[in-house]
């Protein structure tokens, strides 16, 4: 009987219409103590959920977003056609199968998509925090998420998963709360930023701060430092693509068929970057970009910090990297694997072929789906109810 229902649900392709929800905690005097020593509160986290929590509360997956992501990971909002940022991976029958799992995604603290960040009102002044917002770390973001998971009544997450900065959070979850995470899927990420990655982030920050419209962060009455933020995002987009994917997407094609002999955007790639930059300033807070990139640069779980000595860890890991990703190159994922090997942790690792560069984690759906689906299935059900042919639907494999 159950199989028929499952089949019907499987036929529905999308997570459907979803709603953003809010959770507020850390009310004074019980503010959240941050790694920098300062306190933050109250804190609101915006989040969305997909699928249903089972009665054992054992099927919850926390999906973690990257630098400019938000809580809207899948489905669509009512009256809007924009699918979530990982819509291809989350939904009925997808990699994170919402027929099986309860998927949660929250906007990080420091963000600007409904969670408390530098653009939120400072309760002391009633005005946006701007640079009075305390400095954050990835561990602080994870600590805040932990309050949300407590609030949702989930003792142990089946899995934490994310790409890029989302992968850092997944690693941080395993480091901070190993007993609360059965599995972790860090994708296209690193144990720490290399000098090259810090350098790119610094250029990004400098371009925002060099814009006079930034006004030492106090631009909220005047509008965003649009020029600086747009350039920052343009730099980002260059690092997200590969030489090959840019060749395929733009080559040297001209926008208007001939050189303009002025500084307009002649080439398609110029037009693309300008378009991306201009769009970004409409949706992302410049100060958030500064704070979040700094948190990424501070992140460092190398040298035994991922799994401290003498702490046996049951968390299983699926580590994924992409061949053409030069922003988070495979060697950084292999560093994660090396760290885990030393601690005798169960690891599945694979470098996937892709020409999409760092963007691959959002784009390369098929192979990621295959890896994640089986990895999650055995994590939830164990080998004993696993028939070696994939989960439950039988037949394939």
């Amino acid at each position: 009987m159950a199989s028929k229902i499952t089949k019907n649900e499987k036929a529905s392709p999308e997570a459907g219409v979803v709603e953003i929800q809010y959770f507020t905690f850390a009310h004074p005097p019980r503010e959240l103590l941050l790694e920098c020593g300062e306190k933050l509160g109250p804190i609101t986290l915006a989040y969305e959920t997909y699928g249903r929590l089972n009665t054992e509360r054992s099927n919850a997956i926390l999906v973690l977003h990257a630098l400019s992501g938000d809580a809207h990971a899948a489905g669509v909002h009512a009256g809007d056609n924009d699918p979530g940022w990982w819509n291809e991976m989350i939904g009925p029958g997808k990699g994170f199968d919402t027929n099986e799992y309860f998927v949660i995604c929250s906007n990080i603290i420091g963000g600007c998509k409904g969670s408390t960040g530098p653009a939120s009102p400072n309760p002391k002044t009633g005005r946006p925090y701007a640079l009075d917002f305390p400095f954050l770390t990835i561990a602080d973001m994870v600590n805040a998420q932990r309050h949300l998971i407590d609030h949702l009544g989930i003792e142990r997450l089946l899995c934490v998963a994310g790409g890029s900065m989302g992968g850092m959070q997944a690693l941080q979850w395993a480091a901070s709360y190993p007993e609360r995470v059965r599995a972790a899927i860090p994708i296209a990420t690193a144990l720490k930023h290399s000098p090259q990655q810090i350098a790119f982030n610094e250029v990004v920050r400098q371009s925002i701060m060099a814009d006079p419209a930034w006004r030492e962060g106090n631009y909220y009455d005047f509008g965003q430092p649009e020029k600086g933020l747009a350039v920052a995002r343009m730099i980002g987009h260059i690092t997200f693509m590969s030489d090959q994917s840019m060749e395929e997407k733009f080559s040297r094609r001209l926008k208007n068929g001939a050189f303009s002999f002025n500084f307009d955007a002649d080439f398609e790639v110029e037009g693309y970057l300008r378009y991306r930059g201009a769009n970004f300033v409409k949706r992302f807070d410049a100060n958030s970009y500064l704070y979040i990139t700094k948190a990424m640069d501070y992140f460092d779980l190398s040298g035994g910090k991922l799994i401290p000595n003498g702490k046996p860890i049951q968390t299983r890991f699926l580590v994924i990297s992409f061949q053409s990703d030069w922003l988070y190159p495979s060697y950084q994922s292999q560093d994660i694997v090396r760290e885990l090997k030393g601690k005798q942790v169960d690891i599945t690792y694979c470098e996937l072929k892709s020409t999409y560069g760092h963007d691959a984690f959002l784009v390369e759906v098929e192979e990621q789906t295959e890896l994640i689906r089986h990895f999650l299935g055995v994590t939830l059900k164990g080998y004993h109810s696993w028939n070696g042919q994939g989960i439950k639907y039988g037949g394939f494999g």
């Binding site: 030393g342 169960d346 690891i347 690792y349 990895f375 070696g388």
Partner: protein, 208 residues
Amino acid sequence: MSSSLNNLPERPDHRIIYEAIAPESRVLDLGCGTGELLYHLVRFKQARVQGIEMDKKAFYECVKRGLSVFQGDIETGLVEYPDGAFDDVIINQCLQEVRRVDFVIEESLRVGKRVIVGFPNFAHLSSRLMLALGGCSPVTASLPYLWYDTPNVRFLSIKDFQIFCAEKKLKILRAHFLGKAGPVTFMPNLFALNAVFVLTKGKEGGQR
């Protein structure tokens, strides 16, 4: 469903290795292929297993079985493991593809208490005949490749391996020899197609 009712792996070499491994062991399989052996170990012997496999297709078969496996080559795969991380390290049907054989065996004996090595016997009667009488590089059931497309870089016999173990002071705990029809007891170096050795460090090899 499992391939056989008695929960044993299908392949005879897998069966021998399966039976040589104690329940709940920690097992590392170098070149684990599609993971048939590891799957049986984890499912029916509650072993804690880790596989390493180069081939993408085989890797995905392991993933389908829910196994922990990483894509990589054997030599680099071994090095970061701490001493004695595993009870058993399996090197089955891939030693002949390894360039630094002594390094791999030494490293395996460092990270594992025992090493189980399985390989095709190059000195099987049919190979000898092909080379001696036919004058051609042998192509047999256990060494099925033509000279120009073989992944194998080492061609060893049972006797070669026994000499190697003696020289390296490796203790052979058990040796199994397999022919087409089953175990071979008479002149294995001539009649066995495959061999499986269970090794540990000799006394002089230090502990673990």
